[in-house]
Point group: C2
DNA sequence: CTGAAAGCGCTTACAG
DNA sequence: CTGAAAGCGCTTACAG
């Protein structure tokens, strides 16, 4: 079992009585080699423990079989879940994942430039922005870029896979209006993120279309602390909201905690809270968070499909919107309150 | 800004009037090159957008500047958090992280063998087991292996960074006994994991040392579903436990949910629940989980330090145990109940 | 189907 | 301090 040093193609070739070219072909799908020759080479390779050196292979083939994933903050369980499944999906397709953690203040150019030093087959950006200069360079280097759960101002250059932000937010608005809420509020993430702006636009649009007054607005910065602070500001207002739609579940969970623990509210009766994503925690009984479900499996499968297609030299960028669905749970009521409106006594 | 194709060392050399050797030296810390020469080369490189190809560099230098991280299930927020910080820490040290997701039924040999095909500077295993055959091969290939949050049966071959499993579990036992619990239970993960067995040993040892009856035992398989099922079994017993120590927070959170939502128990009064890790969620008001805190920052820093040291060709494997501390929260009571013991009426 | 040769883009002794 | 040459371990036209 113990080999005293690493085995090379040369060793296999020698032992099998063939050239290193043949060894290479034996390990290359679809290469022109006699089946019997391949069988024998593979046999010898297994016997002496040979595997092609992937670094060398990358250098000659120009492909690395590595995709980069630029990640921001994995605190958000939606990202953790997505990364988990993305890496499994890519592994199954024979691709490895190289992580590019964004630095504190967003993906610093210099840092992310490293992307180009590896010969990535693709670069996936998990809810992370891409400077247009880096987008350019990726294009020059023939590295397809796919934004996951975010779109870009530059749709002609990079692909994207997102949920139905607009439709989901409208469905949420409809749900809150049907339940008789009078003072709804949108809690934004930040304005650079399409996940925040498109959800806000869809939400606000529903009210606008019906001539209803526009919802209130706060900003939670997509962080737990930010959302908690925003909730405190809202709930100490003279006329606080009776429903809060947070741009994602990560913030909504913080909102529930603060409303319940610090203001003694019964979430789902005294106030409604809605999120977006339907992370696993949303269904935990401690939260029972109403949320618009983004199907991570589908988003991941689509991301993989695009990466593979672009690898084959497919056409231009593609933009895929995955349908989700509104999941109603205990954090929102379904009907208007029986008698007088809330917050009036 | 747009370069039409990728720039090579040769291009820089030509433009700067030097050899490619000089270019290489300019980008190699500590290489023997005149400061003025280096300055000029770097200047030209920046001008035309040159960065060394890391794949080629790996091939010649034998080092990849990539560390592999074998990950199991990122559902457990402790792992998500750890991975997040590990990748940032390594990035800061100029190392990239390549993800090796374990397949469903543990790290299948064939899959993980790929580790060896890259020239990893180190392999970190996040609560994941390593077969001794792979451990051998890593050693032959000179790839240091560091187990994070787990130890191994093979301490002479691989390094490890863990929390104080034994001490932490004893502190938890002491806490529960001091609060007057009579029917404590340990919820195991699975018996291949030192994080489960060592915590069980520490916990049980406290009772044994004092001549107290041994705690009850259930198995939650380190998953949310497994822990929920275990909790249901326990709470439908004729004589259910009055305190449950779960081998990690991930299971403890599920235990709280089930006890509260399905059995109507007031956690912290009717029953005590304790975890291990102190994940961020443990401090959320919805859970207020008493837990033994494992300092992720320290564990990550230590892992990095070991990886770096072993990269410099340090001596044998090192085993580091990081001290934590018991964090008391509302999920456990601190004093014995005033009158008669619980669950007696 | 197969092998000899060139080459991927670097780094590293070796001379100077 | 510097450059020419060899080499890292593969793959890929090119002949045969």
């Amino acid at each position: 079992m113990d080999e005293s040093s690493v085995v090379r193609a040369r060793d296999v070739a020698r032992k099998a009585g063939v050239s290193t070219s043949a060894v290479s072909r034996a390990f290359t799908a679809g290469a022109s080699i006699a089946p019997e020759t391949r069988r024998r080479i593979i046999e010898v390779a297994e016997e002496i423990g040979y595997k092609p050196d992937l670094i060398a292979r990358s250098l000659t083939s120009g492909r690395s079989n590595i995709v980069g994933i630029g990640v921001g903050n994995l605190d958000n369980p939606f990202f953790a879940d997505s990364l988990n499944r993305l890496s499994s999906a890519f592994a199954t397709a024979g691709l490895r994942v190289l992580l590019f953690p964004a630095t504190a203040q967003g993906a610093s150019e210099a840092q992310v430039h490293e992307v180009l030093q590896y010969r990535l087959d693709a670069l996936i950006l998990l809810s992370t922005n891409l400077s247009s200069s880096l987008a350019n360079q990726c294009r020059n280097a023939q590295i397809p870029v796919i934004m996951y759960n975010r779109t870009t101002a530059d749709p002609g250059r990079v692909s994207s896979v997102t949920g139905n932000n607009h439709g989901g937010a409208r469905a949420i608005a409809a749900h809150l209006v049907a339940a008789g809420h009078r003072r709804p509020c949108f809690m934004a993430g930040h304005d650079d993120a399409s996940t925040s702006t498109m959800r806000e636009e869809g939400f606000g649009g529903y009210f606008r279309d019906r001539g209803l007054p526009p919802p209130m607005r706060e900003t939670g910065h997509f962080t737990r602390e930010g959302a908690a602070a925003a909730t405190r500001r809202l709930l100490t207002l003279p006329e606080p909201p009776d429903a809060i739609f947070c741009a994602n579940d990560h913030m909504a969970l913080a909102t529930i905690d603060v409303a319940r623990a610090e203001f003694g509210l019964d979430v789902g009766r005294d106030i409604s809270v809605v999120g977006f994503d339907d992370v696993p925690m949303a269904s935990w009984p401690s939260f029972a968070l109403t949320s618009y479900a983004q199907p991570v499996d589908e988003m991941v499968a689509e991301t993989l499909a695009i990466a593979l297609a672009l690898g084959e030299g497919a056409t231009g960028p593609v933009h895929k919107v995955i349908e989700g669905r509104l999941v109603l749970r205990g954090s929102t009521r379904r009907l208007p309150p029986a008698s007088k409106p809330p917050h009036e006594g």
